[in-house]
Symmetry: C2
Subunit: 352 residues, 2 copies
Amino acid sequence: MSSSGSDGLSRRSLLGALAGLPALPGLLAASAPAAAQSAAPLSSWNDGPAKQGILDFVRATTGASSKDFVPPEERIATFDQDGTLWVEHPIYTQVVYCLDRVPVVVKEKPYLATVEPFKTVLTGDFEKIAKLSLHDLEAILAATLTGMDVDAFAAEVSAWIDSAKHPRWNRLYTDLTYQPMQEVLTFFRANGFKTFIVTGGGQDFVRTYSQRVYGIPREQVVGSAGGVKFGYDKAGKPFLTKEPKLLLNDNDAGKVEGIHLEIGRRPHAAFGNSTGDRQMLEYTKAGDGARLSMIVLHDDAKREYAYGPAQGLPDTKVGTFPQALYDEAKKDGWFVISMKDDWKRIFAFEEA
Amino acid sequence: MSSSGSDGLSRRSLLGALAGLPALPGLLAASAPAAAQSAAPLSSWNDGPAKQGILDFVRATTGASSKDFVPPEERIATFDQDGTLWVEHPIYTQVVYCLDRVPVVVKEKPYLATVEPFKTVLTGDFEKIAKLSLHDLEAILAATLTGMDVDAFAAEVSAWIDSAKHPRWNRLYTDLTYQPMQEVLTFFRANGFKTFIVTGGGQDFVRTYSQRVYGIPREQVVGSAGGVKFGYDKAGKPFLTKEPKLLLNDNDAGKVEGIHLEIGRRPHAAFGNSTGDRQMLEYTKAGDGARLSMIVLHDDAKREYAYGPAQGLPDTKVGTFPQALYDEAKKDGWFVISMKDDWKRIFAFEEA
């Protein structure tokens, strides 16, 4: 796990995967019904090697007479979030949150209005915002994700996530989870697995909605984490403040290190979609007995997005999937999930 | 959470509470039957305010029509280990492990045999060992708890804990859990609570036996934690190495910070026995609705130990319980558990 520097928290936590921000979407506020969940296991999956791989793995690890039987208390499955459980394009949801928060932060600290990069963000000019440097983005993440009470932060994120919408579908971000993956979560849990999110995003952020959106409780979310500081308010009541200090950069090797820190056990199954998930998928697959590593390929421009050099497409820097990762997947026996071919539908709101 | 320095891992992790080591017990190897668990809830508790406090709290938080009802997914109870769930005197079990490991480490690195503090530990002269400085102990902890593969470490601890015995009872350390507290764990879980250990000890250490001894899975153990480093062996297989770098000193305010990091939610109930648990008990009690903070007072020299200034006894530095903590407990509405008065029996192997 990389040691903390003196500089910004979720800066590095998010920014490992954040280089090259695309244009920003506008954000509208409204509400929408929660996604419905189908009752039949994996009903949104087409028959094929990916679906069969999941079924075979669960049978092998849970069948009482199977040589690869895993006791229930050891059944751990880990899932990347962005691009694996929900839409990550054109920009990570948490980054949208941070940019949306800038006006609030400037209201509290008016001098920031004339200081870059806040000045540029306040213009609302997405072309200019998209050109901000990594260093600028770090400053924005630090200013919007730290320095406040952890409960106040959670309340703010909850209010935002209940109203912010994705510009392409004009739906809540929380409606844009992949129905086939929701079915995998349900299927694993029905077979005694504990499901964990292991995300490059901030764990304080994802924990605010993980139970409602994925049925995953807060303590089963591992993510990039900043330090918090214990203190007392004037009335002597203890509270925790989010500090601009990075404890865990939960990307790349950091995902495995975060799994060791917060779970303490090698997963039996892991799901990802980009280079940030590579080490987690390798570590999972390298365990004894039956192990399942699966990687989602975004190859469905019509229903969602298609991106990544593995398909001869440009590297958009959000969910990078190079040819080398594809080759490793094939060589090491991971399953590549083709959104186009393996998924009958992408979202719960689509017709099956 | 305190930032990591360049110096020793579990050094500081353990040593927050370790000042003033008492004499070391000898260690014998043998086996003993696992502790039996009574079927009736809290049957090893005498009637009184402490037992009633537990029953009232669980009724208040789980009764469907209670104003303080807590949804099952939010039910979190945290338990300190040393002195709260099992015997901590005369010396923390994990420190005994580290001292026992010194000969093995010296075998791997023979030059250490002539270097202090290893030279002194190898003499086996407990009076001299007990006089080692904090700095010496840090060196021992760093040498015995870091630098190895996480799986190799877990295997070593497992082998040790299956044979090492406490000198007073000549029983496995794992037989020296408090039967009344085992019943609290069982009672809470039967009422939908997730039980977590939150220990100043190393979480990699405690996780090796938590499931078997307490019914608590690895991922529900929060403790002092060093960094781990991801790498590949010569065959290209990924592995994790324990690093001499402290990520989380899970003592004092660090317990609350560790709870935020690995659980992400304020507990509804917390149990401790010393100043190292103070902030956890405060933070728990400061939450909305029904909250339970309980602190074990070691006042039973006959059946276990009596120690601490709150009883006018010397501060042994292992499980410090000063008068101020006792006063705070009374003032803030925590329950003080008297081992002598509240517990019908201490260990499962005693007659009830």
